[in-house]
């Protein structure tokens, strides 16, 4: 029964690959996402129904939390995807930065990979065996590679190659770490169950400390590459900026979380083995490093999608810092995972809208969003405030919780660094926000590379006011309000509303789930 959320999207992926009609396929995508969400909701309500599959798969508190995030996110993204695919599919477009023509991946492959992505991510959250979890995470890398390469041009290809190579190498290192953990298990007591979370946590005292520590380091490096912890984050900005918006949303909102889940599992094992101090210190260092790198590279960033990518690096750093501090930090980190996913996904979807309207990823080319695309503009501002941890959004409570944990831990260095980096990112992003939301384009700066839709017949999508305005490059005509597709707005609205609601109160089911998850993390 527990296999159902894994197999359902997988089967749908296969079917979607062979369906010829676009409409039917898009419907299948949305329907599968909805069905998956219903299944997951059912799991939350009635967990007893979903029996564990031997030692392999089971639903525990941590898995449930992340599965819930993944499923909700996918549902939102799939709605957006329908509109996106309707707009982009089959057309040849001119690249915004360099002006060449490119085509897109066939929609069937794209949809199939999307559904496969959901399936593999679900597998990560339900697996209880380190080996199976590894297989699932590697599978997510491979399934998401074609997604990044949706726009078929050289930059996305470069991003895809870096993504594949870096993540595969990282995950290979994680495999080595998994073997090291297996080596920590005393001889003769092996079997299938030796690498399951439950058994490992139970017998934590019997495990060999040296192998555990070495394995932990390798696992953090390996899965940290996938999660985007500095200095292993090199693939992140490229992949996020070149992939289509909805793919970036999924990567940032769901995939990074899955890698985080993997790290949490091993932290739990080390915690019950008495090595909690060591594991948390390591994560703290990685977390602060990620925040530092992100802060440094966000300030002065010229590309808003890249900026959002670095923001993801920063928030993954915050998650690591939270876990590294322990105590309230655990709650803060997990709650922050939820908030970050919702907010970042919304922001990326909005970025997609902006890209469609303005035709450029450069911040200097986007101006006056409040006037041009009012709804998106407002949501953009809200999203920025949400991600920067401003009340009343959810990220405020979670970041505050982590700060409290830092203070109570007595380590002033951490407190100072944490606050410093948050402030730096705040400053960098606010400046960008103001420019993008308010200002018009300076007169005389030409509208570089407006996206020219060469294909015929697109219903949705912004068709900016062309004509005489283009040749003059004046701000006035360019600020004419553009059409904002409904499907492109529903998802961000819902997601941002969600994170706003979480900031105001934490619903019971979420609170209890968080409690359960924290208990699993151990000491």
């Amino acid at each position: 029964m527990i296999l159902l959320p894994v197999l359902l999207p997988a089967a749908a992926a296969v079917i979607a690959f062979f369906i010829q009609a676009h409409g039917a396929r898009r419907f299948l995508l949305a329907a599968t996402a909805a069905a998956h969400s219903l299944l997951v909701a059912w799991m939350w309500v009635d967990p007893a129904r979903f029996l564990a599959l031997g030692d392999w798969m089971a639903m525990d508190g941590l898995g449930r939390l992340f599965l819930g995030i993944t499923s909700a996110l996918f549902l939102a993204v799939s709605l957006y995807a329908v509109g996106f695919l309707r707009r982009e599919s089959g057309s040849t477009a001119a690249d915004s930065e360099e002006g060449f023509l490119f085509s897109n991946t066939p929609e069937a492959l794209f949809t199939a990979c999307l559904l496969g992505f959901l399936s593999t991510m679900t597998l990560v959250t339900v697996s209880t065996h380190f080996g199976l979890m590894w297989v699932a995470i590697e599978a997510t890398t491979l399934v998401s590679a074609p997604l990044i390469h949706y726009h078929r041009h050289h930059r996305s290809l470069e991003a895809t190659w870096k993504y594949i190579l870096l993540c595969s190498v990282g995950i290979a290192v994680a495999l080595l770490g998994t073997y090291f953990i297996a080596a920590a298990v005393p001889r003769g007591s092996g079997g299938v169950s030796s690498l399951t979370f439950g058994r490992l946590v139970q017998r934590a005292s019997e495990l060999d400390a040296r192998w555990l520590k070495a394995g932990f380091l390798l696992l953090v490096v390996g899965y940290g590459t996938k999660m985007g912890l500095a200095p292993l984050h090199a693939w992140l900005p490229d992949a996020h900026s070149e992939a289509p918006a909805l793919v970036s949303a999924l990567l940032s909102g769901a995939l990074l979380n899955c890698a985080f889940l993997a790290i949490l599992r091993i932290v739990a094992v080390l915690g019950s083995a008495g090595l909690g101090e060591f594991s948390r210190q390591t994560l703290l260092v990685f977390g602060l490093a990620s925040m530092a790198v992100a802060a440094g590279l966000i300030i002065g960033q010229g590309d808003y999608k890249r900026m959002l990518a670095y923001s993801s690096v920063e928030h993954m750093g915050i998650l690591a810092v939270g876990i590294g501090l322990g105590g309230t930090g655990d709650w803060g980190a997990l709650f922050h995972a939820v908030n970050h996913s919702l907010t970042k996904a919304a922001l990326f979807l909005l970025a997609g809208n902006l890209l469609a309207v303005y035709g450029s990823k450069r911040i200097s080319d986007v101006g006056g969003a409040l006037r041009r695309v009012p709804v998106t503009g407002v949501l953009w501002i809200a999203g920025f405030f949400a991600i920067l941890g401003a009340p009343p959004f959810g990220a405020f409570s979670s970041e505050l919780a982590i700060l409290r944990a830092a203070v109570s831990s007595g380590s002033w260095v951490v407190v100072v660094l944490y606050s410093l980096f948050l402030a730096a990112v705040f400053a960098g992003m606010i400046a960008v926000l103001v420019r993008m939301a308010q200002g018009g384009r300076a007169p005389g700066s030409p509208a570089r590379g407006q996206a020219v839709r060469a294909g015929a017949g697109h219903a949705a999508g912004g068709a900016p006011g062309f004509g005489p305005a283009e040749s003059h490059g004046l701000a006035v005509a360019v600020l004419a309000p553009a059409r904002e597709p409904v499907l492109g707005l529903i998802s961000p609205i819902v997601l941002l509303a969600g994170t706003l609601a979480l900031g105001l109160f934490v619903p019971g089911f979420l609170a209890s789930s968080l409690e359960q998850a924290i208990r699993l993390l151990g000491v």
Binding site: V169, A183, S194, G300, R306
Partner: protein
């Protein structure tokens, strides 16, 4: 019998040196394929405690994938790209070999000091696994051709699988198959990407893929 296993592992290490030192793509592919075949046969020789049908199944699948499927995939990639010879790599071949020898010495020194939890493992298993992994990593970093980087990844996977033999008591069949399948999919996806890279750029030198940068405002 042990002498043969040790000799086997020595040949395993030689394949890594072979990968490091060869300039021709076909030679590199041959090196990694031989490595995969040796690795497939290794569990049978070491004498792992498992039912024979399972050992043979594992060996068979591993052999099929690493000895046949991977080389075929990569040969297809080579043919589609039509690159017989690698352009001068970032780290020259002679220097790579010397670095390889240094890695070898290091692996032998470190590997023999590692106290293995397992009994009855050949003495050279951990050093050769470590050496192959490090070689794979070095090839990924030091070479330009995307195909050779994919081969380095495969070598790394081979080394880590050898580690698995030494360290993990007995991985469940599912995980073994899953690992192999993942490696297969990785090579498959890499092959396709290389094809696209060649079509797009007319070369497969990854150090020339550098247009994505952090551009200031």
């Amino acid at each position: 019998m042990t002498v043969w296993i040790e000799g086997f592992l020595v040949v395993f290490m030689i394949t890594s040196l072979w990968l490091l030192g060869s300039a021709r793509l076909l030679s590199c592919i041959a090196a990694v394929s031989v490595q995969g075949v040796l690795l497939a046969a290794l569990p049978l020789l070491i004498g792992i405690d498992a039912p024979p049908w399972r050992l043979f199944l594992q060996a068979g699948v591993s052999l099929g994938l690493k000895g046949i499927a991977f080389p075929l995939l990569l040969l297809r990639a080579v043919r589609s790209v039509d690159a017989r010879r690698e352009m001068e790599p970032l780290v020259g071949y002679s220097l790579s070999l010397i670095v390889g020898v240094a890695l070898l010495a290091g692996s032998l020194a470190a590997g023999t000091r590692l106290s293995l939890p397992a009994q009855g493992m050949p003495a050279l298993l951990v050093p050769s696994a470590m050496f192959t992994t490090l070689t794979g990593l070095f090839v990924i970093v030091g070479r330009r051709s995307a195909i050779v980087q994919a081969l380095g990844y495969l070598a790394m996977e081979n080394g880590i699988a050898a580690f698995g033999l030494a360290l993990a008591e007995q991985e469940p069949l599912l995980v073994e198959m899953g690992t192999l399948l993942d490696a297969f999919m990785a090579v498959f996806v890499m092959g396709i990407t290389i094809f696209h890279i060649n079509r797009e750029f007319d070369h497969i030198e990854t150090d020339r893929l550098s247009s994505l940068k952090d551009a200031p405002e």
